[in-house]
Every structure is written in C-alpha cells, then in structure tokens.
Amino acid sequence: MRERLAFLSAVITSVLVLAMSGLLAVKLQSDAQAGASSGAQNLDREEEARFARGRALFFSEGCAGCHSVGGEGNPRGPLDGVAARRSREQLRDFAFGTGTAAQELPRRIAVAKSVYAELSDADREAILAFLESLH
C-alpha cells in the first residue's frame, strides 16, 4: 500500500514537472514571438558547396554548440545573414574573440572562443569565408 502511495506520488510529481517544463517552454516561445524579427536568410546551395571546408569546420570545431546556420546547430544563436550585418573584420573578431570583440563579448563567451586561436590560419580563413557567405 505504501509502495503504491510512493509510486503514485512520484508519478504525480513527475507529470507536474513535465507539464510545467512544457508550459515554461511555451511561455518562452510567446515572449520570443512578441519581440522577434529574425531576418534569417536561406543559404545559397552553391555557396554552401564553395565553402564546404569552412562549413565542415564550423560543425566539427564546436561553433554549432552555440550557433546555427540554416537551422542546423544551436537555434538560439542563428548566424544566418550575419555577413550582411558585420564587416569582415568584425566577423573575424567576433568569431575568434580577438580585437574589440574580446571586450564586447561576455567573459565566459570570450573564454569559450579563445580556444579557436589554436586553429591553423588556413582553417580560420576557411571558417571566415564560410561566415562571409552568410548574407
């Protein structure tokens, strides 16, 4: 009997946790829709092919852990159209946490990006080229 009571309490608790988590996610959705105007553009397939290497690096080096492109990766940091908003220099600084971006970015993000200093120049150029294609 007490086993059943424990089981029932656990089920009720779990269902409530699940429901409340869902409600919180819905709430976040409605907040986002109220004040969002995402100018995401679709990727040109030809450009995607041209910058395949940079794209591969984008996903293999962990960029996609925080950013998405064309719906792939972390949807909360979309980079679609980023090249339209940023100059090449800005793209470089924000991508690798250098220059003015080192001060502008939150500390934890700057630290996270500092690992990309270890990439070869060629790899960094490839990533940059990929980012530049994101009009």
Binding site: E3, F7, A64
Partner: protein
C-alpha cells in the same frame, strides 16, 4: 495530509524554480519549442537529481510527515523519472539539432559536453544497478558505497555540464543563483556523507546483552556510552544500526526498536536472514554500536484519536508492535487491542511470556497463529485471514486502527482481510521494510 501536500509542493518548487527563474526573468533568446523544452527539462532533471541527496539526507523534519520508508521509495521512483527526463533532453536534441550536440568523441567535444555525457552514463548506471542490485547479488554495503560515489560524481559532472553549456545563463545573477543552488545540493551530500555520520559517531553504544529468543531471533540490548541515549521516540519507529566500526564506513542496517520510549537501554529484535544479520550471534559484548534514529511514521502516536488497535505481526515484525504495546502498558493506555502474531510453530514464537504478561496489564488479547504448529496445538493455524480476524475482533471496531509488520505476502493478506472487514485504507498502517 496537508503537511505532506505542502512538502510535495516544496519539492515541486525546488525542481521548477531554477528553470522558471532562468526563463521568466530577463527571458533568454528562444530556440524554438523543442530546443527550449529540452533545455528546461534538462534543468528540471538536474534539480531532481540534486534533490535526491536531500531526500536521503534523513532530515528528520522533512521526513516526519511521510515516514522515511516512503521517502526512500520516492527516491527510487523519482530517480527513474529524472533519468527519463534527461533521456528526453538528449533525444530531442539529437533528433532536432544533431549539430548542436557536436562530436561524441571526448578528444574533440567541448569538455562540458563530455561532462554531460559521462554524467548521463553514470546516472543510468546508478538507476539500473539499484533496481537490479538483488538480481545481480551485489552486496548491500558495496553497492551503497559505489552508489554514493557515482551519484556524487554524476551530480558534479552534470552541474559542470549545465554551467559550461550555459544556455539560459544569460545574466550574471543567473550564474550566481545557479551556483548557490549547486552549493545547496553539495551541502546535502556533505550532510549525508560526513556531518550525520560524524554526529552519530560521537554517540556510541555498547551491547548490554544479547540472547537467542526463539529460532533465529535474537534480542539485542544496547546501552549508551557517555551520553543520555535515545529516550524520546514514537513507539514503532526504527533506527539505523552499524556495528563495530566507524559509522562512516556506511555498513548500516535499519531495525525497529522493540523497547518502549523512556528507558536508558534500547532493545532490538533481530532475525538471522543469511546476510549481515547472521553474524549477530558472533558479536563480542564490547562491540561498539552506532545508532542513527529515530525514523519512521509507523506508530500509534500518529493516530491519537484511535479507539482501539489491531496489531498484525509476523516473525521479527513483532519488534515495532511490541514497542507500541509496551508503551501502552507503561502509559496505562486502556484502549482495547488485539494482536495477531504469526510464526512457524510455538518454538519459533518469540516473546511469549512477555506478551502474556502484557495481556494481563492492558486490555490486550494475544492470538498466536502457527502455520506448521506442534501436534498438540489447539490455537489458530495457517495464515491471517478474514475468518481469523472475525473470530477475535469485537463486533464493533469503528475508529480502530490496524498496524501491520511482517513479510510482504503476510502484509498483502492482512490488508485484504482488513478491507473486507470494513477497515478504511487510512486506518491500515504498514511500513516498507525493504529500504535498500
């Protein structure tokens, strides 16, 4: 009931408050429903895992309204739920946002992702090993050691994972609040693993006497060494005992107290069951014993308005019942009571003389039930049944409460029979003995 509901609400609050704060105040950028739901579920599951330590920290105030046996059962079921939630968290992401998960190779993946993966593996190990411990014939003491170690490591890794991933931690205060919450869980671990054992270790007991009662049942009397002992408890409660070693070694076992409250010595009735209990006869008289208690909600003191009592005990299950009857005798409580005490035969029936004496002192009727009785036995035979209950209980038993302690099949039979006699569920009390 109301207090229990309040504690459940508190639990829900502690689980949902972290994700709610992260989402509702300074809302972070949304990543679509699937992403946000996966993240919130991750935070909720992490909070549930953190609270697992609080559930088993044996905070007396928190466990009192439920009985700690229920808390341990909850601990088990909620662990399964939390593991399912973590799996939904991972599966949702793997299905909708595989690129965000990145490489599973720990050499290539960011450290916080590897920490999360390792935590998930450990959590799954903890839950499975606990559910399968008996089938795997894993000794309780060793299992308990690894359970604690793996759980601590898994929680720390999961905290690192959430902190490193940092989703929704988009403000400095959120990181502070998050750190404070993690500190609270870590305090619970320290309380369970260090503070409580340390407190128990400062109050050692010694074996005052030890004798074979009947069959494989032993009577163990403990006397406090250099402290006032444990005089205040509710008759029917139990304590965790550990023998002859520092209690930090984790080899402790729950036993019901058989003596009544108020005396210096504590009495336990312990049955040899083939595990640790088989060594009870070999303990030397000056062995140190550590007592962590009292715990449990199985007591007639919880039902002060009861007009009479049915006690149903099997074998060593007599211990908490005896404590209650002894307390009734000591208090001059003259409410009517009937005890049904089941054993194999008369020779295996412990406390016969004492129960007969108590029957003289109180309005207690003792019914012995033997399922393999001696040839000249004229009393009740077999197992507890509706018929046996009817024969010995008064016609009118409105407002009576029943207390059941014994093996699971006996409990099931007794519950069914009592229900047929019209006992409401709320008037039938038992305890989950199998805590591990």
């Amino acid at each position: 009931m109301i207090r229990a509901a309040l504690w459940l609400a508190l639990y829900l609050g502690l689980v949902l408050l972290p994700p709610a704060l992260l989402v509702l105040l300074e809302p972070p950028r949304s990543g679509g429903f699937a992403w946000d739901f996966a993240m919130i579920l991750g935070y909720s599951a992490l909070a549930m895992f953190g609270l697992q330590f609080v559930l088993t920290a044996r905070f007396k105030r928190a466990t009192a309204p439920f009985g700690i046996d229920l808390i341990y059962a909850l601990h088990r079921w909620l662990a399964i739920a939390a593991l399912l939630f973590v799996m939904v968290h991972v599966i949702l992401l793997a299905w909708r946002y595989p690129a965000a998960l990145g490489s599973a190779d720990p050499l290539r993946a960011p450290w916080h992702m590897s920490a999360g993966r390792l935590a998930l593996i450990l959590f799954a190990f903890i839950v499975l090993s606990s559910l399968l411990r008996k089938r795997l014939r894993w000794a309780y003491e060793s299992w308990r050691f690894w359970h604690g170690l793996a759980a601590t490591a898994a929680l720390l890794l999961a905290i690192v994972h959430a902190e490193g991933a940092g989703h929704f931690l988009n403000a400095a205060w959120k990181q502070w609040a998050w750190g404070a919450l993690a500190a609270f869980w870590i305090f619970a671990i320290i309380h369970v693993r260090l503070l409580r054992p340390w407190w128990v270790a400062r109050r050692p007991w010694r074996i005052a006497s030890r004798e074979r009662l009947a069959g494989r049942m032993w009577r163990l009397r403990l006397r406090p060494v250099g402290h006032e002992g444990l005089r205040r408890f509710e008759p029917g409660q139990f304590a965790w005992l550990s023998f002859g070693q520092h209690p930090i070694r984790l080899a402790e076992h729950p036993f019901s107290i058989a003596s009544a409250p108020g005396s210096e010595e504590l009495e336990f009735a312990i049955k040899e069951l083939g595990d640790f209990t088989s060594t009870i006869g070999e303990l030397s008289p000056d062995t140190h014993v550590y007592v962590d208690g009292p715990y449990g909600a199985f007591s007639l003191d919880r039902e002060p308005q009861a007009r009479g009592f049915v006690f149903i005990a099997g074998g060593a299950g007599i211990a908490p019942i005896l404590s209650m009857i002894r307390a009734m005798a000591a208090r001059g409580d003259l409410r009517p009571a009937v005890l049904f005490y089941g054993n194999r035969n008369l020779q295996r029936t412990a406390y016969r003389a004492e129960l007969a004496a108590l029957a003289e002192q109180c309005r207690l009727k003792v019914v012995l039930l033997l399922h393999e009785p001696e040839t000249d036995w004229e009393g009740e035979r077999g197992y507890i049944s509706e018929g046996i209950l009817r024969r010995h209980l008064p016609e009118k038993h409105d407002g009576w409460h029943a207390f059941l302690c014994g093996p699971k099949p006996m409990l099931a039979l007794a519950e069914k029979s009592l229900r047929r006699l019209g006992f409401p569920l709320a008037a039938i009390h038992s305890e989950i003995f199998d805590l591990a």
